[in-house]
């Protein structure tokens, strides 16, 4: 038994080495002509997964324009762009690519985007990533993609980027012809994860800095605000954030459960909370349903709001006396969203925009998202005064348009949000389970502008 096991281990090692030597020749050719590699567009992805090709291409352009290639090759190795991966990020925000020296993956290069700047970071310390790329490049036929874990998350806090996406793959060792014995393929599942807070390189240095003097040791430098200018950044990252939230099947299910005629016909509100908890240093979400008491006009937030990063509730059509309800968010909704969900998202994810708040109605569903730079708890505005302004505006509408068409209601609400609330970064989207459009108020034209998220 032991002898058999030893023999099989030997076979595995032999197989791995022979496969590696086969692949080496091709790669050596590539390394011999690095300038060709650089200038060529990424002709074909050799990743196991679908990648954000747009981002990879644009990052390559930035790199080609700014990098001191001979220094990079000497210091880190040759970048193998065909193997660049964006780890399920499709918002032009992140990539990781292997860097080879002497036919071995010795470094990885990660490129982060923050608005219109990209930041390059070489690392030789991520053994897991190096091993993965080594396998992918030299034993390409021996790896296959596995479904990614359902849970993925990318969060950022000031000055850092956390990418916590795991990709699974299976490593297979096939039987070796002529080796004899009763062999069958051996499979092992591995996972590549980026799960650490990484400080953004604040300097202009594309390569490493001298740890003592802080001077750029080469690789390319930019000037000014750090990082490198990224061409034509996505116009509206916010849309991507909304779509990311709606694409979470758990959030979608909660939304769908609220968005029913049965709920709109009730004389009380129906709701759910999303609570984020830290478990083993990872953010884990759970969802709790809630309802208001029958024939009453309130719904209670939990007493302890720590970790409540998402909330959804209905505005039913009528109260139990048959009076119409407004089918747009209220001042209390704005208050609750900013003071609880946006704030808690900042605490747990380092990103206020991770918080969300649905108001689901028969006239359409609205979602708040906060992308402002000021902490929600530091925003100063007078809710007491806002309540009065809100009521004045809607009562005026009721006077002139007793039918209260949803278009007019929406217009008044957007005017209120723009002219009375006026918080930078407080965004509202009209959403369905599968789509979103950003809605804004154009004060000059006195109209609501709706921009569908692509």
């Amino acid at each position: 038994m032991t002898k058999n096991l030893f023999l099989r281990l030997c076979l595995i090692t032999t197989a791995a080495l022979s496969l590696q030597s086969c692949a080496t020749e091709d790669l050596t050719l590539q390394e011999d002509s690095p300038s060709e590699l650089l200038s060529a567009a990424r002709t074909s992805s050799k990743s196991l997964w679908e990648e954000d090709e747009k981002y990879i291409t644009k990052v390559k352009e930035v790199y080609t324009k700014n990098a001191d290639e001979s220094y990079i090759r000497e210091a880190y190795g040759t970048i193998s762009w065909d193997y660049a991966m964006t780890l399920d990020q499709f918002d032009e925000s992140y990539l990781i690519v292997p860097v080879l020296k002497n036919n071995k993956v010795v470094n990885t290069l990660e490129v982060f985007r923050e608005k219109s700047r990209v930041y390059f970071q070489f690392s030789g310390e991520d053994k897991e990533a190096n091993d993965f790329f080594q396998t992918l490049i030299f034993n390409r036929d021996n790896v296959k993609a596995e479904p990614s874990p359902v849970y993925k998350d990318a969060s950022a806090k000031s000055g850092t980027i956390r990418v916590s996406v795991c990709k699974k793959y299976t490593f297979i060792v096939y039987p070796i012809e002529g080796a004899g014995g009763n062999q069958s393929p051996i499979e092992g599942t591995k996972t590549i994860c980026k799960f650490v807070d990484m400080a953004l390189p604040a300097s202009e240095c594309l390569g490493m800095e001298d740890p003592i003097t802080g001077e750029c040791m080469g690789g390319g430098t930019s000037t000014g605000e750090g990082g490198y200018e990224y061409p034509e950044p996505p116009e509206d990252d916010s849309c991507e954030k909304v779509k990311t939230k709606l694409s979470d099947p758990r959030v979608k299910n909660q939304f769908n459960a609220l968005n029913t005629q049965d709920n709109f016909d009730k004389d009380y509100e129906v709701a759910f909370f999303e609570t984020t908890s830290k478990i083993n240093n990872a953010n884990v979400k759970s969802f709790t349903p809630a309802t208001g008491p029958p024939c009453e006009d309130y719904i209670n937030m939990p007493s302890v709001t720590t970790g409540i990063t998402g909330f959804g509730h209905t505005h039913n059509n009528y109260d139990c006396k048959g009076k119409d309800n407004l089918l747009v968010p209220s001042v209390a909704d704005i208050d609750a969203f900013l003071s609880i969900m946006a704030k808690q998202a900042g605490s747990f994810y380092g990103d206020f925009s991770k918080g969300y708040y649905f108001t689901v109605t028969s006239g359409g569903s609205y979602m708040f998202q906060y992308t402002g730079s000021t902490a929600p708890q530091n925003l100063s505005f007078n809710y007491d005064a806002l309540r009065k302004e809100y009521k004045k505006m809607f009562n005026n509408l009721k006077n002139s348009h007793p039918d209260m068409s949803q278009n007019k209601v929406e217009e008044v609400f957007m005017k209120f949000l723009k002219e009375e609330v006026n918080i930078d970064g407080l965004e509202i989207y009209k959403v369905t389970a599968d789509s979103a459009e950003k809605i804004e108020y154009n004060a000059d034209l006195k109209t609501v502008v709706k921009t569908p998220c692509p």
Partner: protein, 190 residues
Amino acid sequence: MKNIILLLLLAISCRSYTQQTIVPLRTYTDIPENAGYYRKDTNNELQAFEGTWKATWNNKTIFITFKKIINKYNTAMKYNEDIIIGKFKTVDSNGSILFDNTLVSDNDAKIEGTGFQNITDKYLMYYVDNDLCGITGDIELTFVNTAKTQLNFSYHQDSMVLTSSCYFHGWPAADRPKPLPKGDIVLTKQ
């Protein structure tokens, strides 16, 4: 010199007064913002609401006083208008005061009118009570009799999300403050 200053002040005040463009209270088209418009009670319809009114419901009695305010700037709509404001006192069956905002200034009145509704002829008001965690609601007033001594008071309280910062968060529904009668009730002029 004094006379010149006085004349100047008089001229300025006359000018600013005459700059107002008066439109009737029942104007339902858009009124330009901050353009000197005054939505005036030209037919003197608001007069009939003025005074103290009383009603009883659920062993509670409300005394509500309506008062006409002239030429007040509407900060949301950005024009001037004539409106009715309301202040009330609610007592229980023993006469103990449950709610009383009769002493607040006119500017801080919790009930404020916004005008007659097109077609229905109801006079609409809103209620905002920042002392009760920001409860808000709408009131519709309609005279019940031709003598205008009885007034239908129809109140709808808005739904709200209650956070733990509100003092009655988590209280049973029956114990929560209910300052105004929900639904319809008839007020009688005192």
